[in-house]
């Protein structure tokens, strides 16, 4: 069999082409749209700009102050919800993160692993040791894991029902406390796919 390389058409922008890309995108939306998660992640709020007394002729002092505020607002804009499990250097401005990834596995009871796979979703609530305490009197990792479980556990957020089977406290990088949550679901198999391909036609999941 010869491959017709010239005619391989992949629409890289279409997230439905791949199960993992699509589900990570969905998870990202779920996490980003939750205001409480954002709140507990402890993102610093951007400062409002100073108002010029004369809008057309700002003084030098006003311009300097405006620049300081803009610099500060830029510095605090780090992504806190990331779809991979890796600490990208120790941040000064942003201390806490939600990290997640998806782990696909063939199901041992599905002979040949052709139709069903096990899908494991790992979510890490990463909190810097300096920022463990919250105003609510609850440890930040616990509060984050509660919200994540509330969003995912026993829901059909990704089609099939998700079940949390592990919520484990851990320490990483000497400065970060984390809670690692693992969710499990059975999903239609697109790891191997039919005939070794992995394209839009093989993805017969419910969404």
């Amino acid at each position: 069999m010869k491959r017709d390389i010239a005619n391989i058409k992949r629409d890289l922008d279409n997230r439905h082409n791949n199960d993992i890309i699509y589900k990570k995108d969905q998870l990202m939306k779920i996490f980003q749209e939750d205001p409480d998660l954002k709140e507990v992640l402890g993102a610093k709020q951007p400062k409002p700009l100073n108002k010029y007394r004369d809008a057309n002729n700002p003084t030098e002092e006003e311009l300097k102050k405006r620049q300081e505020i803009l610099d500060y607002n830029r510095a605090i804009q780090h992504e806190q919800i990331v779809p991979w499990i890796k600490l990208n250097g120790v941040q000064k401005e942003v201390l806490n993160f939600i990290m997640f990834d998806i782990w696909d596995q063939t199901d041992r009871y599905d002979r040949g692993g052709k139709a069903v796979k096990n899908e494991l979703i790992e979510v890490y609530c990463v909190v810097h040791e300096d920022d463990m305490d919250t105003e609510y009197g609850i440890a930040r990792t616990d509060l984050l894991s509660y919200i994540v479980r509330d969003l995912l556990c026993w829901t059909n957020a990704l089609g099939r029902q998700l079940r949390c089977y592990e919520d484990k406290p851990m320490i990483i990088d000497a400065q970060y406390y984390i809670r690692r949550m693992r969710f499990f679901m059975k999903a239609p198999n697109v790891v191997n796919g039919h005939m070794g391909t992995n394209n839009i036609y093989d993805n017969f999941s419910q969404f």
């Binding site: 709020q45 400062k47 105003e135 609510y136």
Partner: protein, 248 residues
């Protein structure tokens, strides 16, 4: 028997008497003529402590120690010499005349007008250009209406300072710096732990010298409580308060 270089008379003073020079001269007079201010007991202040016009006894403060408990002050006095040039024997006031000893200070007939510093707290909002804009409202509105805050919201407060004379025109003073404080007002019936918990849930962030943001956290126990926001000029010259209520 008290003996010193200055006097050999029996010093049987049982109570002190300090004339109120501030009442006589006012702030400006004291500053203008470099006179003592008997309202404040400070170092090197001289005053007559006896009611003896023939041989008035003058004392000078050399040390002021604030003691614990509050309200007890330990003053150390040194006996001083009567200064014929500057002191007034009739009125028993030290440093009544100026340095030449000739010009008697004329008490101005007009009440001295003190310069005053007034501070106001205004709420502010972020406008469509993402700029902070102050909501100028009347004092009466600020006094009667609580500022209503929602949990999980962000609210901005700005302090403005005005200097001017009493009853005169007031001009804005942009160089003042503020110290802010937010504390629970309705503390009755609450334990210390509860008050502490409520205070912690109101997060105050300093944005600028005179601008803060208040962020009531998302907690239902905050609802219905009133907090007092106090701003004090960093020099302690002016103080202003505002009540804020968490309503939902």
């Amino acid at each position: 028997m008290w003996t010193s270089d200055y006097t050999t008379q029996l010093d049987n003073i049982t109570n002190g008497w300090v004339p109120d020079t501030h009442y006589l001269y006012g702030d400006e007079g004291l500053k203008k003529y470099n006179l003592c201010d008997t309202r404040y007991m400070a170092h090197e202040q001289r005053f007559v402590m006896s009611h003896n016009k023939i041989n008035p006894k003058v004392y000078e403060i050399t040390k002021v120690v604030d003691l614990n408990p509050m309200g007890v002050i330990n003053l150390t006095l040194k006996q001083d010499e009567w200064n014929e040039k500057r002191d007034n024997r009739e009125l028993l006031i030290c440093d009544y005349y100026d340095e030449t000893g000739e010009t008697q200070i004329i008490i101005p007939e007009v009440e001295p007008q003190d310069t005053t510093l007034t501070s106001y707290i205004y709420t502010a909002h972020v406008n469509e250009n993402n700029e902070l804009e102050i909501d100028y409202v009347d004092q009466s509105v600020r006094d009667t209406d609580y500022n209503k805050l929602q949990t999980n919201g962000t609210y901005y407060f700005v302090a403005e300072y005005y200097t001017g004379t009493v009853g005169g025109e007031q001009t804005i003073d942009p160089n003042r710096k503020s110290e802010w404080k937010l504390e629970l007002k309705d503390v009755e019936g609450l334990t210390d732990t509860e008050i502490n918990r409520l205070d912690r849930l109101m997060v105050m962030d300093k944005i600028d010298d005179n601008i803060i943001s208040i962020h009531p956290k998302k907690a239902s126990i905050l609802i219905g409580h009133i907090f007092t926001l106090t701003v004090t000029d960093i020099d302690g010259e002016s103080r202003s308060t505002m009540d804020v209520e968490v309503i939902g």
